[in-house]
Amino acid sequence: MTDRSADILPVNQSIGGVSDQLTGIPLHFPAERRWLIAMLFASLLLLLFLVSVVELFTRGVGIWGINIPVNWAFAIHNYVWWLGIGHAGTLISALLLLTQSEWRNSLNRFAETMTLFAVVCAGIYPVLHLGRPWYLYWMFPYPATMEVWPQFRSPLEWDIWAVLTYLTVSLAFWYTGLIPDLAAARDRATKRGWQIFFGITSLGWRGSAAHWLRWSQAYRLTAGLAVPLVVSVHSEVSLLFAAGQIPGWHSTIFPPYFVLGAAFSGFAVVSIIAISLRSWFGLNNLVTDDHLDLLGMVLLATGLMTAYGYVFEVFDALYSGDAHELQTLTDRLTGAYAWTYWGAIAFNFIPLQALWWRSVRRTGWSLMLISIAVAIGMWLERYMILVTSLYRDFLVSSWSKFTPTFWDWSTYFGTIGLFLVPFLIAIRVIPLISIFETEELLHAEEEETHG
């Protein structure tokens, strides 16, 4: 990848110019009107979320379409979907940092920001699904007067540790990478309010060589930890399913299948955000067509790996010869919810094939449409995994159906607001592309051309 990254950014731009351009986005916000319109839309969705949650807490989870046996539906389905989207942010910033793929430098900041808020949206779902969310603290080991402890041999207990660790480490990693850029914004700020805001958040960073040395070591090592963390978190999520005995869930293919699907959906959402931000803020000099090309390739690669997971899931069921596994397979392919299975395949893998063409990868709108298709396709896949396994399990007497209600949908669309509102605030107040890493890359490229 080194020969490619040698000229990923156009070299006809100065280091100082890039710094001014990127600090200028929070300090002299260029797209006030478009931002306000987006914010209005996002706030309405957030309001919908709040209304749905108040309704939920007042009347209970019965307002959703869940029942016995389909006791896990939208809540866990969207939890897995959001968490998967979040994983791409960590993979872009941590994995590509370690492999020294410099093209990440234009994408990692907003991808990490996306991770943070996607994990928040994911994490809120199991809490809402608890039924009695005010007992959430029962998940933590504290010396209770009832003398009971949480059960650590259950995947449901692992879940809260995995998600909270992931959220905390993502936040710490994001902030550590942000400190030098906050200092750059502080030094460019002219208004008193911004000077105080960036002065405090940049923690007094002054770019000392000794500081950079320790910072680099801590940052790289944290990146090294974040990569296995992503894999462990989504594997753990898949164990919520695979450790159960329900046909269609009880399979060793689940951990890699989930992790790859997560990366697939996440890279799709990163592409959507990259294309939107680039046209919003005129960042074509930093998020170039080469970046879209690489994102398209990663999307294609992770998509094909996910497709392999589909093939092996079918093989697994056939090879087991288990009557219930075969029944679930038939239900998926031809049952009442077959539209989710074929929908997932159609949205995930058919438009994806266009990415074999270079011109499709390098064109903003085509990559955008394919990415949207993937986000929908992965959403259908999570729906399929949840509902087709649960609605018909071992006993015919317990078979039932699941139909999402208005409140299912409103909570789901509400979480999109829960994601967009803080994300829009973040791109308004922090440098949305890493300034010092861009400068470092530009300097290295200039060296190469002149020296």
Binding site: Q151, F152, T165, F173, R186, R206, A209, W212, P228
Partner: protein, 176 residues
């Protein structure tokens, strides 16, 4: 002499001129050197003779502590409140692995970042260098070298002349 000054701050246009200046300052006998750059400059730490940071050891210890805490916590919880689940073992190491792994990473990452900030003396609200006229460019596209006033060789006039000779585009005395 050195009582009222923090040091002499020199500005350079590129990392290369900064590195040359650092090398010459070392040769001239200056020892209290610090450089300020908008991005990490490779090779600068060798010229400044900075010690290798020990963050990796902190991370290792943090990880070991995190893993042990998780293991002990899960064992104790099952000891104090034993539930027989279909005859499966109470101390099920394979079931404890997930939380152990998560806490290993959590403790390791947070301890490294925390120690990095602590060793760097951050956060701090002010620093004498922030009073320097052109120091705000250290986060943009200028590269600074500061010779501390506590240095044995430090002399306002001689140090200032020396820094101009090695190619500084501006030199400024930073008050304490």
């Amino acid at each position: 002499m050195a009582d009222h000054a923090y040091g002499m701050l020199a500005e350079f246009d590129s990392p290369e001129t900064l590195k040359t200046a650092v090398r010459k300052a070392r040769e001239a006998g200056y020892r209290r050197l610090d450089a300020f750059t908008p991005f990490p400059v490779e090779g600068l730490e060798r010229l400044l003779r900075l010690p290798r940071p020990n963050i990796s050891w902190v991370g290792l210890i943090g990880g070991l502590v995190g893993g042990s805490v998780a293991l002990l916590m899960q064992c104790y919880v099952n000891y104090d409140f034993p539930i027989n689940v279909g005859g499966r073992p109470l101390y099920a190491i394979s079931a404890f692995a997930v939380v152990m792994f998560e806490l290993t990473i959590l403790f390791s990452a947070l301890s490294m970042i925390g120690v990095m900030l602590w060793q760097n003396g951050l956060p701090r609200l002010n620093h004498p260098l922030f009073g320097a006229r052109r120091f705000h460019l250290a986060s943009k596209d200028r590269f600074f070298l500061c010779i501390g006033a506590a240095d044995g060789e430090f002399d306002e006039d001689r140090t200032s002349t020396f820094l101009r000779q090695v190619g500084a585009s501006s030199v400024e005395l930073v008050p304490r």
